[in-house]
Symmetry: C2
Subunit: 334 residues, 2 copies
């Protein structure tokens, strides 16, 4: 490990000034091809790695986009990230991920940390934040996009779907197919606002046609196939006359399907099942499960697009409020 190599060292070795070396390595103009080649050669051979801390401080620009999501285990956010990465791919911007753990206090601290690096943009999942977080988002001098959800008041830009509507729509589909004894299995309510909204929309949609939920089960912790299977078993034991269960996540509905398989129940004959997200794990199972596509990838793409956009226009453009329309796929379980 040689002592750290600075720009001034590269410059000295190349017999030029720091400025010329800086320009050459950044591909800036005003450097002759010959000089540039020489400097690049020296930098490469000596393994020079520029110090972006110093560079960013000086240029007052950081080519990073902060992305704050609740979790990476849930199967849903990695795909949002894919969308973001894809769009940022051929721009100088790079995504940086922070995890809030479905905790608004933690979210606040993660966002504060992120903003302290003065990123070129911030993408954050959800519309619910602490007061302090909202202030930071408002005052941030970079584009801010709240994603996933449109049911609420975004601070600035917003891209997502209406989970309230998604719940209502699924209720309508379920009722339209004649189910009336309906159960709901959902995830940790207080912290997952979108799941909560789907639940509210769902009960709302049922109520619109005079139907109330016959059974409800809430659980804490991450969604898992195993959990879905166990809770489905419990619920059906408790309420054997149910004819349909709506799960707040596909991961859970897969568990439901697994229980039915094991218990010899036909789906949707004995019991209909529906989930949410349209995760990839639904493909290849014994039956195509009913679900709502959460437009995860597209949300990521559009959010990244907004960041790029307002970079070009200098951020003096109007607000974007992008409400995507999630498609329900009925599969074979409704």
């Amino acid at each position: 490990m040689t002592k750290k190599l600075l720009l001034k060292d590269v410059a000295r070795l190349a017999g030029v000034s720091e400025m010329t070396a800086s320009r050459a390595l950044r591909g800036a103009p005003d450097v002759s091809a010959k000089t540039k080649a020489k400097i690049e050669e020296i930098a490469r051979s000596h393994g020079y790695v520029p110090n972006r801390i110093a560079g960013s401080l000086s240029s007052q620009s950081v080519n990073l986009v902060a992305v704050v999501v609740p979790s990476l285990n849930s199967f849903v956010f990695p795909e949002v990230l894919s969308g973001i990465s894809a769009v940022l791919k051929d721009s100088p911007l790079k995504p940086v991920v922070g995890i809030s753990g479905y905790d608004l206090e933690e979210e606040e601290s993660v966002i504060r940390e992120m903003l302290s690096w003065r990123p070129s943009g911030l993408i954050v999942a959800g519309l619910e934040h602490t007061e302090a977080t909202c202030r930071m988002l408002q005052q941030a001098d970079c584009p801010v996009v709240e994603v996933m959800d449109v049911d609420g008041d975004p601070v600035r830009h917003c891209v997502g779907i209406s989970h309230l509507q998604a719940g209502r729509d699924m209720a309508a589909q379920i009722l339209a197919r004649g189910y009336r004894r309906i159960g709901f299995i959902g995830t940790k309510m207080p912290q997952d606002f979108r799941a909560r909204k789907r639940f509210d929309g769902f009960t709302d949609g049922l109520a619109a046609q005079g139907v109330t939920l016959s059974d409800i089960e809430h659980y804490s912790g991450e969604s898992a196939i195993q959990t879905g299977r166990q809770l489905t078993a419990q619920m059906l034991a408790r309420s054997p006359d149910l004819d349909c269960i709506y799960f707040s996540s596909d991961v859970m509905s897969v568990g439901g399907l697994m229980h039915c398989l094991a218990a010899g129940l036909t789906v949707p004959g004995d019991i209909a099942l529906a989930g949410f997200n349209n995760l990839q794990i639904l493909q290849g199972l014994p039956q195509q499960l009913a679900t709502t596509d959460a437009c995860r990838r597209e949300i990521g793409e559009r959010a990244a697009g907004i960041i790029l956009q307002s970079r070009e226009t200098g951020g003096t453009e109007g607000l974007v409020f992008d409400r995507l329309c999630p498609a329900i796929s009925l599969g074979e379980t409704l």
Copy 2:
């Protein structure tokens, strides 16, 4: 959006010097409780967010740990990350993730980008890198840990399991249970070195007892249940006399199980199945699939531990080479 608030503004408002404000906000000593309270109050009420770019440049320290993994969709790396996060939780260090996309050139560029931020540590998946990457890892003036794999020559520290051995062990288990007509279904070989090593170890383990693979299928693209199901169907159609299939990933073996379910094949009666990773999606399925636990979380924990360790000791300690022992669980499909 108010014009950006600087430390000097906070200091002026509090009627103290920049230094005192800086000390107060960082919790450094030499500030009276009264002064500190006043400065903190002003900073909070005005929504001051410190500029960590400037701070890091000045203090020559960045409290970030760079983590470079091939993908976040594969179900496997998020759990490594969980382990890292958990250990870093109550230290000032924060993990920052970079995605290499199973591409060594991309990995090089991501690592270069990461190192240009002068992180406090670097954790990278795999032992195979471009020449330039290796030079960077050697010259990096922060602890470097290569994780997941121990079959090769680490640049510095290393934590992982032997995938070669994992393949061999699974071969031994399969042979011990009497299977002889064995197929293998594995992922994009040239880029996923660990899958390749499991394959090599597996064929090696079979060869040790005079058995050769009866059928082999390689595919490109991400692993998916659907893919596993289709390839299993194809392979069994082509080689109906197989009695066991080893998959390079649990995601694929789940697909295999789904095919058997659909085709009315009993497992392991008609065909035995085994995967790798011990992913959470194995829990709750109709049968407990055979697999090898890849120690993902523990690898993350130990890697983060090494970073913390060498931070305390000033990095003057010996190299760590941590070879974990993955446990095979036979489940009900072998």
